[in-house]
Amino acid sequence: MDLHEYQAKEIFRGAGIPVPPGKVATTPEEAEAFAREFGGMVVVKAQVHSGGRGKAGGVKLAKTPEEAREHAARILGMDIKGLTVHKVLITPAEDIDTEAYVGVLVDRNSQAPMFMVSAEGGVDIEEVAHTNPDAIRKLTVDPRYGLLPHQAYWLANALYDDPGLIRQAQKVMGQLYNAFVNAGASMAEINPLITTPGGQVKAIDAKVSIDDNELFRRPEIEAYRDTSGEPEAETEARDADLTFIKLDGDVGCCVNGAGLAMATMDLVKYYGGEPANFLDIGGSSSPEKVVNALKIITADPAVKVILFNIFGGITRTDDVANGIVEATRNIDIDVPIVIRLTGTNEELALEILKNAGFEAYTSMDEVVSKAVELANRA
């Protein structure tokens, strides 16, 4: 789960990281009032779960409270990569001497948290990794020991030469690691970590992703969840314990298993179609799940055909067939449904489906090419 900048900053502040103050405004008037409160120049920053806010015009400097209001009026409601901005963060503008990058994430290879830091901050770290990989210092943290003081020093030493700045940054490294672990994060990033002309180190942007698997024991972080910007269907799917991602095509896909779901989407494309979504109904395909899945798929007006691809391993495919039949009785669906069921009890399942008037297949290639044909014809 991605956090908003202002939420990530709350976590960082709690860990002791020097973060400038900030207030969240949902109206231009609030934005103006907060800017007045802070005095001086402020930055108005769109709070949205997407990168590239700056390029999209979602981050603006305001010299006066009135200007802050004008910026907020323009940014609130703005669409950034398909997500709507509902909140802006108002924060005093800082004098910046240098900008560095500090991030920690879970590294697959070392099976451990890994720091990446670079004196070249304020830009996309992937860009730096690409153009100037030597500018990035990496450190794997042994989870049995945590970040050790000399390791924090070594990281800080990659950013600065001045002993005073190194000492501040060394402290920030330890605080960031603690914030990362205590929040159950999969990624925590300060970009940029700035130095001011007065010799202060400060985190002026913050990005944190929480490991979804940690949320059950961190209700205070689950409470940070903000679905206001995301497609309604994805919110509904999560509530129904389905994994759903909206895409731009017209073939609605309903598959058991993430790998098979991806392969199904790929095959739609292979046969000249475009998938309307990724949807994994998971291992136990109860009728209720099938109902919810169908509701979510059919809510998308772009969908021209619904494609089921179910491989019954432990799951009995006759159960799934019954689920589909039951589900379609209760939902009014005006697009064709094509179904592929194979594996455990497939004869029984195909019988059930045919009796209910569905086109049923046992081959994945057949069903997908049929679905694409129907979509392209519609």
Binding site: G51, V106, R108, N109, Q111, A112, P113, D124, E126, D142, P143, R144, V181, G184, S186, D211, D212, N213, E214, F216, R217, T243, I245, L247, V255, N256, G257, A258, G259, L260, A261, M262, A263, M265, D266, L267, V268, K269, Y270, P275, F278, D280, G283, F311, G312, G313, I314, T342, G343, T344, S363, M364, D365
Partner: protein, 295 residues
């Protein structure tokens, strides 16, 4: 032969009295896996009723189970909050091979558990994996036993049902398997492609390998280099997620394209560059393997 499990596997089911644990314990016993013990704290001394009137003793803890039954392998069906602890308990009890089925285990829990298992020389498969099956010998996990058959192909995959799809095509084409391993879709997994490839390399019965990857990470790329440098066997690869959008987690926690890294295209290129034949559709996997085995 086969890898990781066979007729010498003596299995403990951790969480045997739970809904999933009890169901799959019976499935594994029916397949012929030698299930020697179950563990559920507080239910030690009770007996698990398997198929055909067979029973399995239940213990409170892994150390007791291992001491009483000489178990060497365990499979974990406990809830996510306790799964990493169960891995460590198994490793501490001297289990050689732990298969963690549980989905939704916190990643930082697993970072510690993997370190712990490494310290003790215990191999972990998973978590969030379907397990593995050595056809005709043993199955550990949730892979369906009816779609596999003994034969010359080693299969390793990050996926569950997609693996069934591939195995199904192989078996219906008359091509059996030495072992099919589902390594799981989490970011931190205990056994990776390379570990399985190395094991298949040492298995004289494995004559060809299927490797099914997906978007996210660089394990497939590294495995491809390993194949080129170390394997003389034909390898067929498939990558799911060619149409996946960047930055979105595709079901599996590890299946996510970060920026420009971990795309299907990148992985398929790495396969081809290292002599691995790439199947464009799942059905092609069996076709390419058949050709390879005949060649």
């Amino acid at each position: 032969m086969s890898i990781f499990i066979d007729e010498n596997t003596r299995l403990v089911v951790q969480g045997i009295t739970g809904r999933d644990g009890s169901f799959h314990a019976r499935q594994m016993m029916e397949y012929g896996t030698n299930v020697v013990a179950g563990v559920t704290p507080g239910k030690g001394g009770q007996t698990f009723e398997g198929p055909d009137g067979r029973t399995v003793p239940i213990f409170n803890a892994m150390d007791e189970a291992v001491a009483s039954t000489g178990a060497n392998t365990s499979v974990i069906y406990v809830p996510p909050a306790f799964a990493a602890g169960a891995v460590m308990e198994a490793a501490d009890a001297g289990i050689d091979f732990v298969v963690a089925i549980t989905e939704g285990v916190p990643v930082l829990d697993m970072a510690r558990a993997h370190a712990f298992a490494r310290d003790r020389g215990t191999r972990v498969l998973g978590p969030n994996c379907p397990g593995l099956i050595s056809p005709g010998k043993a199955k550990v996990g949730i892979l369906p036993g009816q779609i596999v058959a003994p034969g010359p192909v080693g299969l390793v995959s990050r996926s569950g049902t997609l693996t069934y799809e591939a195995v199904y095509h192989l078996t219906t084409a008359g091509i059996g398997q030495t072992t099919c391993v589902g390594i799981g879709g989490d970011p931190l997994i205990g056994t990776k492609f390379i570990d399985c490839l190395a094991a298949f390399k040492d298995d004289p019965d494995t004559k060809a390998i299927v490797m099914i990857g997906e978007i996210g990470g660089t394990d497939e790329q590294e495995a491809a280099e390993y194949v080129k440098e170390n394997l003389d066997l034909p390898v067929v690869g498939f990558i799911a997620g060619q149409t996946a959008p960047p930055g979105r987690r595709m079901g599996h926690a590890g299946a996510i394209i970060s920026g420009s890294a971990g795309t299907a295209a990148e992985k398929m290129e790495a396969f081809e560059a290292n002599g691995i034949q790439v199947a464009k559709r799942p059905v092609e996997i069996a076709e390419l393997i058949r050709a390879a085995l005949q060649g």
